[in-house]
Structures are given as C-alpha cells and as structure tokens.
C-alpha cells in the first residue's frame, strides 16, 4: 500500500497544515505552556496569544466584537453548542427548520432532538442542489426556535443564499435564530456574519489548513445560549475547559491566511477546478456533473461516472496516488449512498459512481494535468467490468 499521497484532492475532508500556521503554533507547544487564566506574566503570554487569535477569527467571519467568538474543540462541537445552546435557553419553542442536505454532524443531532420531542422540518433542494426557499418561508412559524442551514455543501460545494434565507426567516419571525454551518465555506468564499444576518456560525480549523481538533463558534451579541460544557469560566462561561492555546493560535493564523487567500481561491483555485471538471466531462464518456454549474465554492467538483461504482474508482485512483472521495454507499461503511445527491434526485446510474474532487491553494496545475490524463484510463478499465454494457454502449454513442 502506498502511504504517501501524491495528488491530494480531498480538501473538503481535511487539509494539510500550512507551514506558516505550524510555525506560529510551535512556541506554544514547546515554550509557552502557561495557563491563560493564571495571574503571572508567563500565563499572560498565553492569554495574549488567545486574544490575537480571537481577533483574527473575528475579522475572518466579519463579527463586530471578539466577545462574539467562542473556541471549541471541533466544528461538531461548535454546531452542537449553537443548536443545543439556543434550544435550551428557551425551552418553550419546539420547532426547528433545517435542510435535507446538511452535514451528518448536524442531521444526526436533529434526529436525536426529534426523539426528544422537537418537530424538525427538512427543506429539500432541486436538481442543482439549490434550496427550496418557498418551502422554507412556508415552514417558519411562531414556534420556530431555530433555522439551520449550511453555507456551502461539503459534497457538491453548492452555496446557499444565506442573506436571503436570513431575510425570509426574520420577516416571518424576528425571534427565530439563524445558525449557519460554515465549515465548508470558510476559506473558500468571503464570510460576513453582519452583512448576512447570521446569529450563530460554526467553523472548523482543519478545513482551512489549521490542525484537527479546533473549531470556533460565532454567537451574535444578545443571542442567549446555554453552554454545552459546564465547568470553568473560560470562553466567558460559554465553553469550559482550559484553553488549547497552540491550537487556538493555529486557527487564528489559519483564519488570517485564509482571508488573505480568498482572491486566489476565487481565481486560481477555481481555474484549476474548472480545468479538471471540463476536461473530465469532455474526455470521459460516462461522466456527468452532479452539482450546480454556478453557485458553488471554487474548489469543489462532483462528477458521477455512470454504471461504475465509486469505491472502485477511489481504489484505482489511490493506486495512482490520487486522493479523492465518493458519495457511494460502499466507501462509508453505511449501506446508503449520499443523502445529498439523493435529495438532488441524481439518478442511481450516477449516484453510486459519484466522485468528489476538492482542491486547495496548494493544488498545482501539474497535479491537475496528471489526474486529467489518468481518469479516462481508469474509467475505461472499470467500465469493462460492468454488467451494464448495453447502457454504456448507448452512452458512448451519445457522446460521440
């Protein structure tokens, strides 16, 4: 087995730590181990580092005040803190609205809440992955405590119109809170919580070149949440536990670099993604785009290879040193294919063979050319094994 990945195109799963981020972090692992809550100046070094990071994250999400930023141990913890925090601060309201294509970390929580007596509406999407805004508007009621939507989808990269969602929700119920899972938007598109009318927003460091194990939650001033982890007074009583100083420093630096890199994402990363996408769709006869052509983050594409199974594609890509991901059932260990692609109504023929390529600012043109060159060969080999030869012949004819 080849352990070393040559071409890493799975940046929506996780990213590599930027060397500049690591360099910022190391002193806080090696030298400045003081507790930020201590009174002596050695602890003060840590407290100051946290304050800098909080400012960097504030600037990254466009918050007004650093008091609105809470550091957590993951994106999932940030989401859980937001959702459970809002619900338990006002237990009279029992209605939640979310979407059918949210990340499992959020969906599974809502399924749990349903068992606890909450009513949850799951809003659908069209074949481009775009949210049914009319259904959303109709769903908001007096009793709606929370509306929860992701900014960008992890599988397709499709962007939801958060500002419009906020306007719709607030026009029907001023008191309903809007929680945005921005884990896949962070570092890919500009985020501004003020401009977009967001009450709570979660991000995860390892999706934008910070290490795993650090996340952050934005909570708009005046939004009341009960803490998930109760204990010490850290994070203004909203998240107990001694601050993970080196990782907080890491997410701060990564946020700063990500903000600086947004222009590069929108131009160069997008150019490479588009090159990969158009080449594969052109040269591979059974390839079809499983996502919206527009309204997408610049780094993600999702291509379905019809009548071929996704795990088999990934295994062969892996043999060639290429890391990608699939919405196929077989890759996850669950037996169900991607709930996102199913909600979009992607046909079974392309659903099981869906392959996601997600780039980063470290992706090079040489890497993209390598994948473009290899993809048709892999698919040719795999279609030869498929029992659906008549259907494949039909597709080949169609393409020609």
């Amino acid at each position: 087995m080849k352990d070393r990945c040559i071409v890493y195109l799975d940046n929506n799963a996780t990213t590599k730590i930027d060397k500049l981020v690591l360099d910022e972090m190391l002193p806080y692992l090696e030298k400045y181990y003081g507790n930020a809550s201590s009174i002596y100046s050695f602890g003060g070094v840590s407290a100051k580092a946290i304050a800098t990071a909080r400012e960097q994250v504030r600037d990254f999400v466009g918050a007004k005040d650093t008091k609105e930023i809470i550091f957590t141990a993951s994106g999932s913890e940030a989401a859980n803190t937001a959702i459970r925090g809002v619900l338990s601060s006002d237990k009279t309201k029992k209605h939640i609205i979310t979407t059918k294509v949210e990340h499992p970390c959020v969906l599974n929580l809502y399924q749990t809440l349903e068992k606890q007596g909450y009513k949850v509406d799951y809003i659908g999407v069209n074949s481009n992955g775009e949210l049914d805004l009319d259904a959303l508007e109709n769903a908001v009621s007096e009793d709606t405590a929370l509306v929860s939507a992701m900014w960008a989808n992890n599988e397709t990269g499709v962007i939801f119109p958060i500002k419009q969602i906020s306007e719709i929700v607030k026009s029907k119920n001023q008191d309903t809170k809007l929680f945005v899972d921005a884990v896949q938007a962070a570092g890919k598109i500009p985020m501004d919580v003020e401009e977009n009318g967001i009450d709570l927003l979660a991000i995860s460091g390892h999706k934008f070149h910070a290490p795993k194990g650090i996340g952050a939650l934005y909570v708009k001033s005046g939004t009341s949440i009960s803490p998930l982890i109760i204990g010490g007074h850290q994070e203004r009583g909203k998240r107990a536990g001694t601050e993970n100083v080196p990782y907080i420093v890491g997410i701060g630096k990564a946020a700063e670099l990500a903000k600086e890199g947004l222009e590069y994402e929108a131009t160069e990363v997008k150019r490479l993604r588009d090159k990969l996408e158009t080449s594969i769709l052109k040269t591979v006869f059974n390839a079809r785009l499983n996502t919206s052509l527009v309204n997408r983050v610049p780094n993600t594409t999702n291509i379905g290879f019809e009548y071929v199974e996704g795990e088999l594609i990934l295994l062969h890509l892996s043999d060639m040193g290429i890391c990608a991901s699939s919405g196929s059932a077989c890759t996850s260990g669950s037996l169900e294919p991607s709930h996102v692609l199913k909600a979009m109504g992607i046909p079974f023929t392309a659903l099981h063979g869906s392959t996601r390529f997600s780039l980063s600012r470290f992706t090079t043109e040489k890497e993209i050319d390598y994948v473009i060159n290899i993809m048709p060969r892999i698919i040719d080999k795999l279609t030869a094994i498929s029992p659906f030869q008549d259907e494949l012949a039909q597709l080949r004819k169609h393409k020609a």
Binding site: E309, G310, H316, A329, L335, Q389
Partner: protein, 275 residues
C-alpha cells in the same frame, strides 16, 4: 480506508475472467444497480457436468469485484457437485477474509452462483415466488436472511446487515430481521425438547388451523381445509377467494406454514392439494 487483504487488492486490481460468454449454459444474477452492487455470472458446463469456463461482470466496490473474480477461479474445472457446495464463507476465506461490513459482497457472489445453478437445472425457468420480502430497500428475502444466518452462524442484527445489507438503509425492517433471528434460535432450542407423538401433533395442527388460521382467512373471504397429515407434511386445500388466488403460495408459506412452525417446529411443510 478498508483493511483489505493482499488477495482482495490483487483481484480488484487485476480481475480474472471478466466478460460474458455468448453461448453460456447458465447465467446467474444478483443485486441491482439501485442497490449499489450488481453481478452477472456466465457458466459453460460440459456433458459431464464440469464447469469448463466462467466469466463475470460486476458493478460494485473493490470487494465485490474481488469476490466475483475469485469465485470464477474457484469453479472453473470443477464438477457441479463440488460447485454446489461452495458457500459465501468459502469465497471470503479464499480472499483471506473480508471486513465485516463487506461480507455481503461474498454473499452476493454466492447468490449469483446459486441463481446460475438453479437456471441450469430448471432450464432457465424461474422458480415460483414462495419467499417473503423482508428488506424492500435492498430486496432481501426471508430465505436469503435465513441462509446467511445458518451458513455464517450470525447472531446479531448488525451481523445480518453486514452479510445481507438487509436493514442497512431505511431500517424499517430491523424488527422483522430481529424476529427472524429470534425465531431461528428459539426454534433450534425447541428442537431439543422431546418430540410430540403423531396423534398429539395431529390434534395440535387441527386446533391451530381451526382456531388461528381459518378465522384469519375467513376475514378475507377465504378458508382452509385440512386434508391429511403425513409425518411433517401437512396437506391442505384452500377455499373461497383463497383458491386460485395469485398469492396463494405466499399465503401458504408465509402465513399458514409459519404459524404452524411457531408451535410445531421448522420441519413442518405445508402442501397445497389442488383438487
């Protein structure tokens, strides 16, 4: 990342005997595109009942391709008697094992082989439907679940899902799968009890038919008549709207037979007398 054996990797990288045999003597299928894996197997069988050639086409993951590929190697050159004895466990063992969640791939290989052999013996005629669908998401029948339980000594719901995929999607059939498991092990347990005398058995069967089965069938405008009992074979006649009903086999097997088996054990066979 799955922990695949070298053997599995070798077979999905370089699958053997890929393709179709145009003049195949038997063709077997398992799975479907919607379910995420589908397999077709083609056999050439000579007059001495020896499998002289086998080819496959698979839509599925690495372990599905590996299971199909190694299966063809296992059967080429073998007499049918030997081929019939191959189980899904043999396929998995030959691959040096499969991850638990992937055992259904070996089951699928075995099912396609079974299907091919069945088509060979019946000359391509499909067998009458007498099986109850348990998992509608993945089209898994009670028979398939039971044989996976028996062959692999499965004990838990999770194991059944790993081996057959049943219950792996919407999960609505999980209770039914658990019931099949419970019933299987419960009945095995009961078998150890002293057996009823033939007279006791006849009285019991008669009582169950009169008091439990007949009233249910009458609700649908039908009825049942006990004709004879010979050992474990129970001969019955369906009447009223049950007679000639397309689902009569289903009624017999999934309702009459299973009700009798609940009390009298798994050996009970219900046979319909036509005239």
């Amino acid at each position: 990342m799955w922990d695949y054996t070298e053997e599995v990797m070798e077979h999905y990288r370089n699958p053997r005997n890929v393709g179709k045999i145009d003049d195949a003597d038997a063709i077997g299928e398992a799975g479907s595109l919607a379910c995420g894996d589908a397999l077709k197997i083609y056999l050439k069988i000579d007059k001495n009942n020896i499998v002289t050639d086998a080819k496959f086409q698979t839509f599925g993951c690495g372990s599905a391709v590996a299971s199909s590929s190694i299966l063809t190697e296992m059967i080429i050159g073998k007499p049918l008697d030997e081929v019939k004895k191959i189980t899904n466990k043999d396929i998995a063992d030959k691959l040096g094992g499969l991850p638990p969640e992937k055992m259904h791939c070996s089951v699928m290989g075995h099912e396609a082989l079974e299907n091919a052999l069945e088509n060979f013996t019946t000359g391509g005629k499909t067998k009458a439907v007498k099986d109850k669908m348990v998992c509608t998401c993945f089209s898994v029948t009670e028979h398939q679940i039971l044989s996976a339980i028996k062959e692999n000594k499965l004990k838990t719901l999770e194991e059944v899902t790993n081996y057959t995929k049943a219950g792996g999607a919407c999960g609505h059939c999980k209770d039914n799968i658990q019931a099949i498991l419970d019933k299987h092990y419960h009945i095995k347990h009961e078998e150890e009890k002293p057996k009823l005398t033939q007279t006791q058995k006849i009285i019991k069967i008669n009582n169950i038919i009169e008091n439990q089965i007949s009233p249910e069938l009458r609700k649908d405008g039908g009825d049942i008549e006990l004709i004879d009992i010979d050992g474990d074979n129970v001969y019955v006649k369906l009447r009223g709207s049950c007679a000639g009903c397309k689902n009569s086999t289903l009624t017999l097997k999934s309702f009459v037979e299973s009700t009798l088996r609940e009390t009298l054990g798994n050996e009970i066979e219900v046979i319909e007398v036509q005239k």
